[in-house]
Amino acid sequence: MTETTLGGGAQAASTSLNNPKVAAAVRIGLAWLIFGALLALAFSLHETPGRGAAASLSLLIGVALGVIFQRGRFCFFCILRDFIEHRNSSGMFAILSALAVGGIGYVIVFGAFMPNPSGQGLPPDAHIGPVSWVLVAGGGAFGLGMALSGACISGHLYRLGEGYTRAPFALFGSLLGFGVGFLTWHTLYVETISTAPIAWLPKTLGYGGSLAVHLAALSALACLLLRYLPELPAQAGGKITWQKLYQTVFVARWNPLVTGALVGLVGTFAYFRVAPLGVTSQLGSLTRTALNGAGLLADRLPGLDTFAGCATRVVHTVTNNGLLIGSLVAGSLAIALFTNRFQLSRLTLRGALTALLGGALMGWGAMVSLGCTVGTLLSGISAFALSGWVFGGAVFAGVWLGIKLRLPE
């Protein structure tokens, strides 16, 4: 608490950042500045012709995700590693909670978007993808890449805001991986993906039945994971005070169930107003545009542009998805500064190279799977897509294998 007290008598004259009071003032000032700038940008985007509400909402959704991911440590790799290596399942409950709340939210939105799910077609732009061995391979590669680089793509984005120096290498690696993905796409599409089934549970079970199965499956997983929950610290009773509130919101790691529920809510809002959550569309589009510009990739990739998912395009502007991931990094940075969690990690050559390679594996996996742990797993399972579950299983297997092979070390 004392570090947030501003001002300070005689020492205030010193401008050295070694002075903890000055450092805190700079940190907190910067955090406010970033939040203020993001808010101002959201307002101005809303008034910009050709941008409008979808753009400013994308920006605000990114900020919300940055804050939630950072405060709740919602990092798929850290969560899976805690479980696989340390037999600690507490983070897993954040994922289950996100999927449960997301599923309820999606049912409500689906009911408005497409009242009768048994008719022809799928709800607009929901992440319901084809299921084939390519999806399994993509998920497996993605999981291995997570283990090798230390986080998934969304994890790297928010940890970049915390000063994780491997993140830029991993993100750059993912751009290269996307490139490999685009070059392999045509063969994979013609040979396999074009005839792969697209399974969507509400087609057969309706929305009510699907939600029942969805929640039952998540509950069953929760029951299995319950015995791996660590003992909770004794909770002090008493009145809620400002100090306690501050402690809960800005100091302690957010409760996994709350973190997950917030992610599920934001995911629902995003689908309702803009598009399903995803963090790879702008990254993939960057690579696609570069390859296209260099004459290495055709304008059209047959099949790719017809699937819902983290769509990539040849673009020369910042898309709504670009605004989302940019503000995710900025939001995470601002809250990390505010709560004194920003610290540049030490970078080794080995760390940089493994991050680059892991990033490339993730990029390829996310490209052929039409999304990552956010776009395909979170937004897919919330939408009752079989593809989300298959990708999730493959990612788990990939991370498990990576940890057994001691890749993270």
């Binding site: 408005a112 978007f113 009242p115 607009p124 732009d125 309702f272 059209r300």
Partner: protein
């Protein structure tokens, strides 16, 4: 006395000024109400059970994330065409669709959509083909409704089943390749209007920017005149006045004295011009929905290609 006269003059001035200042509050007097309705007109009739609003937008999720309250959604790609045999929706399928939307034989159907009402106009053409009389377009389309900050709803509307009965297709407002060929050869009387951009018409490009080249020849149907669809609307997307429209088409010899044939690339933009010529100006018009993707690819069919562009040649 002078004071009273001043007051009267003042009141008169206010009346005149407000009459000029608020023309948007009235329906557009310069267009037939039976064909085009203003946003004001529609906003006042959203609860009228005799009026049914239909959105035809092509961008997925546009209707779902907010539509005019009470509107139903027709999907162009699946509801209004038969993608398997490349044809318009069958009478059975269209009757089922219209009934599910709560449309009766005497319902006033108001269509609107994204992309300048192109696909909504296609919907109006299909309604007319199957004999529904009262079909209108919302002036300025979806964009104008949004611009005016009018309410949108995300709740799906449910209307009681209608009794719309599809009549036998009105062949005279649809043209097939042989019909158009007969005009080109001078065996039938008519005037052909190409509503694509001048660059497409002259054969400099095969398709508009960003679209796939679906025809292997560039150019236009011989004898066709070029009036890009966009010349029928003002900058804000609303239709020009009847007089302006009459002059626009008369300047290229389209005056209603001969049957008119309109075409574009796949028939969506020319639906817009079909609507202008037939519903607003009352001319005898057929749409050639096979359009350039059929004509440009058809074997042994003549074209004019002023630019001389040849597909695949450097």
């Amino acid at each position: 006395m002078a004071f009273r006269r001043l007051v009267t003059l003042f009141a008169l001035a206010i009346l005149i000024v407000s009459g000029f200042a608020a023309p948007s509050l009235r329906a557009r007097a310069d267009l037939p109400e039976r064909a085009v309705v203003s946003t004001e007109w529609l906003a006042a009739r959203l609860d009228d059970p005799k009026v049914r609003v239909v959105e035809v937008s092509v961008v997925p999720g546009v209707f779902e994330r907010g539509h005019i309250p009470g509107a139903v959604n027709f999907v162009w790609h699946t509801d209004l065409v038969d993608p398997v045999i490349r044809d318009i929706a069958s009478p059975e399928a269209f009757q089922k669709l219209a009934r599910a939307a709560g449309i009766n034989n005497d319902t006033t159907v108001v269509l609107y959509g994204d992309n300048n009402n192109w696909f909504a106009a296609w919907g109006a053409w299909i309604f007319t083909i199957y004999g529904h009389e009262d079909v209108r377009l919302l002036d300025g389309g979806r964009a104008k409704w949004e611009r005016e900050n009018r309410p949108l709803s995300v709740r799906p509307a449910s209307h009681p089943e209608g009794n719309f009965t599809a009549k036998p297709a009105r062949r005279e407002i649809r043209a097939f390749l042989p019909d158009v060929l007969a005009v080109v050869k001078g065996e039938a009387e008519g005037v052909i209007v190409d509503i694509r951009s001048p660059a497409e018409y002259e054969g400099r490009i095969f398709a508009p920017e960003g679209f796939q080249e679906l025809a292997i020849r560039a150019g236009h149907i011989p004898t066709a005149v070029n009036v890009p669809w966009g010349r029928a609307v003002k900058e804000d997307g609303t239709f020009k006045s009847v007089e302006e429209l009459r002059q626009l088409y008369a300047s290229v010899g389209v005056d209603g004295s001969k049957k008119v044939y309109v075409y574009c690339r796949i028939g969506e933009r020319s639906s817009h011009t079909w609507f202008v010529l037939s519903k607003i100006l009352g001319y005898d018009v057929a749409q050639y929905d096979g359009s350039w993707t059929e004509w440009g690819n058809a074997v042994g069919v003549p074209i004019e290609n002023p630019a001389g562009t040849v597909w695949g040649r450097q």
